[in-house]
Amino acid sequence: MSFWNFWTDPIGISDAWLRGLFAGWGMPEFWVSLLVSLIGIVVLVVFALVLDIMLVWVERKVVARFQGRLGPNRVGPYGLFQPFPDIVKLIIKEDITPAGADKVVFNMAPVISAMSVIILWAIFPLAAKVYGTDLNVGVLYLVAAGAFGTLAVIMAGWSSNNKYALLGAFRSVATMISFEIPLVVALMIPVILTGSMSLKTITEAQVNGPWFILVAPLGFIIFLISAIAELGRSPFDLNEGESEIVSGFHIEYSGMKFGWFYAGELLHTFTVGGLMGILFFGGWSWFGLENWLPWLSSPLMGAIAVLGKAMFGYWVIMWIKYTVPRIRIDHMLALNWKFLTPLAFVLLMMMAVLHSLLKGQDVLIYTGAMLAANFVLGWITLEILRRTARQQRGTVEAPKPVAQH
């Protein structure tokens, strides 16, 4: 029986056991809690990095399938062990620092890039009782951690002493800071709906009520688009556009330093997929099935739900990456400033008014009204876009025939 008791609250029980153990050795209270937290953090980070290693395989396999190739299939079953030789290769490669590079900043950039992703896992709730810490300003923390990523990119681009890298960094920063505004406003929608910035409370509100994808589908779409832009993945991958600036900000990096940029990008994408699951798809909830099947609400199944939703979000982002071609920088910034930002603010105003008018109502009426309002706003937006596009097409002159016979 004690085995099953353990799985109802694995973190709490191991925490209590470790505390008892260290206190039994005669450690002071402060050092006990410090050491226990340290062990927990190392376990969590190592878990995230093992996940990251497997994501390398997923990414390579899926891109291969999208392009009609086989992908890694030699090392281990289905090429599952391919990432391990990859890592060994990255570590034993010669690490080239270009002459004229700013060495301190050059070496710090990949570390900060990886750190900006790893620290997101501090507040990532995997299940009702499995999370690093329940920060009461969780949503703001996500935005702050994202700013570290921007910093890493500009550090890498500036210190490399390379024109391509600098151009990539400029573009990347322009994209990241522009799309941060709709991202923050989209993040504000779950905050409005729950009245809390803690990711755990936001998830609990969805376990007990409707998922926010039903309440704010437009908010989810804005979040998805601006999160892809923040990640710098195609169709917004201007910072590393292979055909124009070769590899952008990390062009001069080799070996494990490049490896950290690559691994950081994959883990960041997966984490953003997970945040989509947590903020809009009910986190550890199993479609409300846990009301009938109580074992589905155990921490293990909760973690499976969160990771599955994260994988789904990751897959959607990959799907977009490998099917949509890169867009031009002026189009991208116009998409943000002339479309996403006004739409996000209008949506925020609408949600705030509707929420404060309807907050005492029945769940069904509340969800239905929110959903209908979202659809109406989406339809109005599409209509405005269609009119604008038609108008712009009208002003463009037909191309003159070049060769005349």
């Binding site: 034993i92 010669e94 790893i118 810490t133 920063v173 522009s178 504000m188 009245g195 910034l333 400033w337």
Partner: protein, 118 residues
């Protein structure tokens, strides 16, 4: 741990230590045979002309300014969004007036042509 900011601080520390570890391993076991050609700036097989730290387009600066305005104002919006459940309807409308002023700023930038990438 009781204090979640202590936890975040520890997480930052571990988040720096773990990426640094493989870099140190690589620095120890990877070969080091630098030569001037290998260390020269990568540029499609040509020599780099002039300084690598080129001037940037002024438009980036305009977008950064616009971002700065909006980012500061969204920080002001977070407390409003957080306490929306407790606020009377009039206070919600006040928040909306604030957002409308923000959007007026965006419309001004748009009219002035600051959002064009020329």
């Amino acid at each position: 741990m009781q204090n979640s900011w202590m936890y975040i601080g520890l997480f930052l520390f571990i988040g720096i230590v773990i990426p640094v570890a493989p870099l140190i391993i690589a620095a120890v076991i990877a070969p080091k045979k630098p030569n001037p050609i290998k260390q020269s700036t990568y540029e499609c097989g040509m020599e780099t002309v002039g300084d690598s730290w080129v001037q940037f387009k002024a438009q980036y600066y305009v977008f950064a300014l616009a971002f700065l305005i909006f980012d500061v104002e969204t920080v002001f919006l977070f407390p409003w969004a957080l306490s929306l459940n407790a606020l009377p309807f009039f206070a919600v409308l006040e928040g909306i007036v604030f957002i409308l002023i923000l959007l007026a700023g965006l419309a001004y930038l748009w009219r002035k042509g600051m959002l064009e990438w020329v």
